[in-house]
């Protein structure tokens, strides 16, 4: 915890030093959030023009924030990590990368949700406010360096997500999803908070660096409080990551929530949760190899349950929900190994997953807009009416399967390759993962087979001949597909960047530990 005098000194030094350029994106997003909120509240008539304006406004602020992030990264790249906001945040490559992904995810979410909301509900402005709020929470989470900020940011993300899940007020399923998510989420938060309180009791600090330095003395000791604390934190994170056996809420929430929200939860929310998990893992758990077993169990259970249950799904949103669970399982494999290369490949996986899953959800929304159906059966013969949609959707599904030259393939390839290189102990994990990806071929390609090979279903036959897809949706899908392809073809630089960012995280830990030990050594 920063002591009072240094805090006061910093305050006295002037406001300029307190607003570090690193948090400009957050500042811009907050302004955008407020502007959109005020516009929503004060605008009397909710006309179509007004809806379009709010969408464009929200999108502009998200993209401005993204621009600020990129500009700041280009102007002063965080070559060595430094603390911002009195030690509550860290400015580092990892934070930049994660926040960039969150903003891209938020931008795509806003773009794909507009038409869907127009068709299903009429109050739209506050939806974007909520999305921006959740993204803001995620962004603070991604570079948090203090437990208090982690909790606040996590709650910002969670509470907005609960509301988003229930956004379709008049639909029972949406309300059910929201309530279910709230109860499960509340449990998760409680467990997480309990874990944090144990940390504080054990260490007496809330800053990540202090905690990681203090935890060194417990390495190799089976301290009961420590074990309970780690278990609680991992359980709460596993809930956020929707990994089995904490996955029960995922399919129901995805199915009930508006589809853009499901996309948001499965991509942006998950990216934020992974950012937190990786940071906590590196700062806290890296010294505790016994934690790996927990992650191995989570990974194997998630992959297997996700893939097997997905085989039997008839609703595309539930299928994508189980596929999300399975992908979380693959990604957790990186934590199970815990080396720089492994976590680096996991981050690359996350980038690839962002685009391919967003593309898949964009296609599902486009299809829903045209037919009002989420049944997998009704996708039959879609190619005869909408060849480009099928091409894009198929590409994203192929990437999710891990078919070569897509980003999904390289994500799996890097991850498995790192696992193999990390030692023969992990070979059986790779084997399980390979068997699982083979199983996943069945349900992903089944959708493609239906769309391409089968004769048109009644829903598809009822569709108009000419395309009526909105430009936002088409652009989002095109961007997702292009990114999935380019990430695959030019995988190398992205992979290197992810690895460097993780390397920097590990450096932070060792610096924190050595700084703490220096006075003691004297």
């Amino acid at each position: 915890m920063p002591d009072m005098s240094s805090l006061l000194n910093a305050l006295n030094a002037g406001v300029q030093t307190t607003i570090h350029s690193y948090i400009f994106p957050e500042v811009i997003l907050t302004i955008g959030l407020l502007v959109t909120l005020i516009a929503t509240v004060y605008h009397g008539k909710k006309t179509d023009e007004y809806h379009a304006e709010t969408k464009v406004g929200a999108l502009i602020f998200v993209l401005l924030s993204l621009g600020a992030l990129a500009w700041n990264f280009q102007q002063n790249p965080p070559s060595s990590p430094e603390t911002v906001l009195f030690g509550a945040m860290t400015a580092d490559l990892f934070g930049v990368l994660m926040r960039m992904m969150l903003l891209v995810g938020a931008a795509i979410t806003i773009a794909i949700s507009h038409r869907f909301l127009e068709l299903n509900t009429r109050i739209i402005g506050d939806f974007y406010v909520l999305v921006m709020g959740a993204t803001l929470g995620g962004m603070f989470l991604a570079s948090a360096n203090d437990m208090i900020l982690v909790f606040v940011a996590l709650e910002t993300l969670s509470i907005t997500s609960y509301i988003l899940a229930g956004y379709l007020r008049k639909t029972v399923r949406s309300a059910e999803a929201s309530f279910k998510y709230l109860i499960y989420g509340g449990m998760g938060t409680a467990v997480f908070l309990f874990g944090l309180s144990l940390v504080y009791g054990l260490v007496g600090a809330t800053g990540f660096r202090e905690i990681s330095a203090a935890l060194v003395q417990y390495q190799g000791v089976a301290h009961p409080t420590l074990v309970v604390m780690l278990l609680m934190i991992v359980a709460a994170l596993a809930f956020k990551l929707s990994t089995a056996p904490f996955h029960m809420w995922t399919p129901d929430v995805y199915e009930g929530a508006p589809t853009p929200v499901a996309a948001f939860l499965s991509v942006v929310s998950k990216t934020a949760a992974f950012a937190l998990t990786v940071r906590l893992f590196v700062m806290f758990f890296a010294g505790f190899p016994q934690m790996q077993l927990l992650f191995v169990i989570l990974a194997v259970l998630s992959m297997t349950i996700g893939n097997f249950v997905a085989l039997k799904q008839t609703n595309i949103k539930r299928l994508l929900a189980y596929s999300t669970i399975a992908h979380a399982g693959y990604m957790i494999l990186g934590l199970a190994v815990g080396s720089v290369a492994a976590i680096g490949s996991m981050i690359y996986y996350l980038i690839a997953y962002l685009f391919m899953n967003m593309g898949a959800f964009a296609s599902v929304i486009a299809f829903h807009n045209m037919t009002r159906s989420d049944e997998i059966k009704s996708y039959s013969g879609l190619i005869q009416k909408r060849p480009w949609l099928v091409l894009g959707f198929s590409f994203c599904l192929l990437s999710l399967t891990g078919i070569p030259i897509t980003a999904g393939f390289f994500a799996k390839f890097f991850l498995f390759q790192t696992l193999i290189q990390s030692g023969s102990v992990y070979l059986w994990l790779v084997l399980i993962a390979l068997v699982n990806s083979t199983i996943s071929i069945a349900y992903y390609l089944n959708v493609i087979r239906l769309m391409v090979v089968k004769e048109p279903s009644s829903a598809v036959q009822a569709m108009p001949e000419t395309s009526d897809a909105s430009a936002d949706l088409a652009t989002s899908l095109a961007v997702s597909v292009a990114a999935t392809l380019l990430l695959g073809i030019f995988a190398s630089p992205f992979f290197e960047f992810s690895k460097t960012s993780v390397e920097q995280l590990f450096q932070q830990r060792s610096v924190a530990i050595s700084q703490a030990q220096l006075p003691a050594g004297k």
């Binding site: 480009w388 091409l391 390759q417 391409v452 995988a491 190398s492």
Partner: protein, 548 residues
């Protein structure tokens, strides 16, 4: 010209065509015309590439860094073996597109897109010089082929398509395992990661343990044997052929099967000579079974397309036999057989397609007397069937003769090691003679087929059938032209690749034995023998031997 990435253009041009197709208007003649033009352009580009490369006597290679930390790079290159197959592929794609005029009627845009994606994948397989890239293209081929069978096929199309995919995926598992195996072994001996063909083949040939060679050989072999297809992995092929539409059958028999034989020659025999020498007896044995057994099966087929499919499998057995001979003549024969089989089997499937599109039946029992009403089709059926059964002065003859010649002169093995030290006393010569029964059977079932389909009384219901349309005549004429042309001038084909393919046999050190016989030949001047290191003593030799 050197700065144009010809090979990459050849590989990716079809993908561009595939992406242009959905943008075109839904007009059938328009689509047929443009796609024929595309296929023609592809053929010309490939021809141009081959011409520049052969006139400069250079191997084109393109190298781009891709994932250097894993040793994966985009490397494509073409030696003469690749060029021959690339030209064959582009020619058959053109023929298949023209053949689609009459045989494919629904969902043309997607159809042509898939044909071009398939072409791209196959061209990639033939041109890749990085094992990782090779595997990518190898797997890419599955998707368009699955769709081509599953959408445009016959009544049991989905069953056939899934069967095809499952068989190929089963092979792919072995291919991946072998790829990973040789990658890891190479990294151990080289100290760095690489998937480059040249470097991998060097590590394979320098001090790799024999057991490792045998394992890797078998790993690659299973994948390629399924594609070839080799007995007992051949059962997917008749189903796929029977269900696939005519142009897809032409592509399947004409070039897809060549991926298997190409891979065998390139990897199994090119990289693991020790393993090949140990395993050659079994390969030749299986090749013999392939030839004779499937010829026998073809004999009893009632379905015309199945008959042709089994005949196609039977003729691919000659490739196995030629490779198992482990000498330069055998290898050359195998490659020649790939080319002639590509032309002949595509032609035969085209004949079946023309008959099917008129009669809507494939049962031989329901046909007869077509020679009178369909003279043009009969004419080409006769030429192509005769080429298939190995009549001299047609393309099948030099290939089969070279294979027999190479196998007969081979010193690969005198007996087949069997269990517990017991040897089957079957030398390669004996097996070759038994294989020759396959040729006799081939003549039998093809001539019998011709007799039943084109001779005899005409069924009254087939009275008003029209003879070959222009597009059909173009396809049959094109294929027929090359079949006759290469029959008269086999050197034009073999001259392309004989030196390089012959050099692939050099690790087997059998050249000395082969050379011993032909030196007595009068028409080979001593200088010619002395200067050309891996000279194959020509087809005239073989032809003389055959006529004696």
């Amino acid at each position: 010209v050197e700065h144009i990435p010809v090979l990459s253009i050849i590989i990716f041009l079809p993908i561009i065509f595939a992406l242009i197709n959905p943008l075109m208007p839904d007009n059938k003649p328009f689509l047929h015309f443009w796609n024929t033009l595309f296929a023609g352009i592809l053929f010309l580009v490939a021809g141009f590439g081959w011409w520049t490369a052969s006139s400069a006597k250079a191997h084109l290679v393109e190298y781009h860094e891709w994932l250097p930390q894993l040793g994966i790079n985009y490397i494509v290159g073409a030696d003469s073996l690749s060029w021959v197959l690339v030209l064959l592929t582009t020619l058959l794609v053109l023929m298949a597109v023209i053949a689609s005029y009459t045989s494919v009627t629904k969902r043309l845009k997607l159809y042509y897109s898939m044909v071009f994606v398939l072409a791209s994948a196959i061209l990639g397989v033939f041109l890749a010089r990085d094992l990782f890239v090779f595997v990518l293209f190898w797997e890419l081929e599955l998707i368009p082929m699955y769709l081509l069978i599953a959408i445009w096929g016959g009544p049991r199309r989905e069953y056939a398509a899934i069967k095809f995919v499952l068989y190929t995926l089963f092979g792919s598992v072995f291919l991946l395992a072998a790829t990973l195996g040789i990658f890891l072994l190479a990294r151990e001996s080289l100290g760095y990661s690489t998937f480059d063909f040249n470097q991998l083949s060097q590590t394979a040939q320098m001090g790799m343990a024999t057991w490792a060679q045998i394992l890797l050989f078998l790993g690659f072999f299973v994948a390629f044997a399924i594609k070839l297809p080799m007995v007992p992995f051949h059962t997917w092929l008749p189903d796929a052929h029977v269900e696939a539409p005519t142009p897809v059958s032409m592509l399947l028999a004409g070039i897809l099967l060549k991926m298997g034989s190409y891979g065998m020659l390139r990897f199994c025999f090119g990289w693991f000579p020790e393993a090949a020498m140990i395993l050659a007896p079994y390969l030749v044995l299986i090749g013999m079974i392939n030839i004779v057994y499937t010829a026998g099966v073809a004999m009893v087929q009632t379905d015309l397309k199945k008959l042709i499919a089994y005949s196609s499998v039977s003729h691919m057995g000659f490739v196995l036999l030629g490779l198992g001979a482990l000498n330069d003549i055998g290898f050359n024969g195998a490659v020649f057989q790939m080319v002639s089989h590509g032309l002949i089997s595509a032609g035969l499937f085209m004949i079946v397609g023309t008959l099917y599109s008129r009669t809507h039946t494939r049962l031989i029992a329901e046909m007869g007397g077509f020679g009178k009403t369909l003279p043009t089709i009969f004419f080409f059926a006769l030429i192509i069937s005769l080429a298939s059964l190995g009549l001299p002065l047609l393309a099948g003859f030099p290939a089969e003769t070279l294979v027999f010649y190479g196998a007969f002169l081979s010193t690969a093995f005198k007996s087949i090691p069997w269990l517990w030290g017991y040897h089957l006393s079957l030398s390669i010569q004996t097996l070759t003679i038994i294989s020759a029964i396959g040729v006799v059977l081939g003549a039998a079932y093809l001539l019998w087929m011709l007799q039943r389909v084109f001779m005899g009384p005409l069924f009254p219901k087939w009275e008003g059938l029209k003879d070959a349309s222009l597009s059909e005549t173009v396809v049959l004429g094109g294929l027929g032209f090359f079949i006759i042309f290469f029959g008269f001038f086999p050197n034009l084909v073999s001259g392309q690749f004989e030196a390089e393919v012959g050099a692939m046999a050099s690790p087997y050190n059998k050249i000395v034995h082969v050379r011993a016989l032909p030196t007595t030949a009068t028409h080979l001047t001593p200088e010619k023998v002395a200067t050309t290191t891996v000279n194959v003593p020509g087809f005239t030799q073989a032809a003389e031997g055959g006529h004696q």
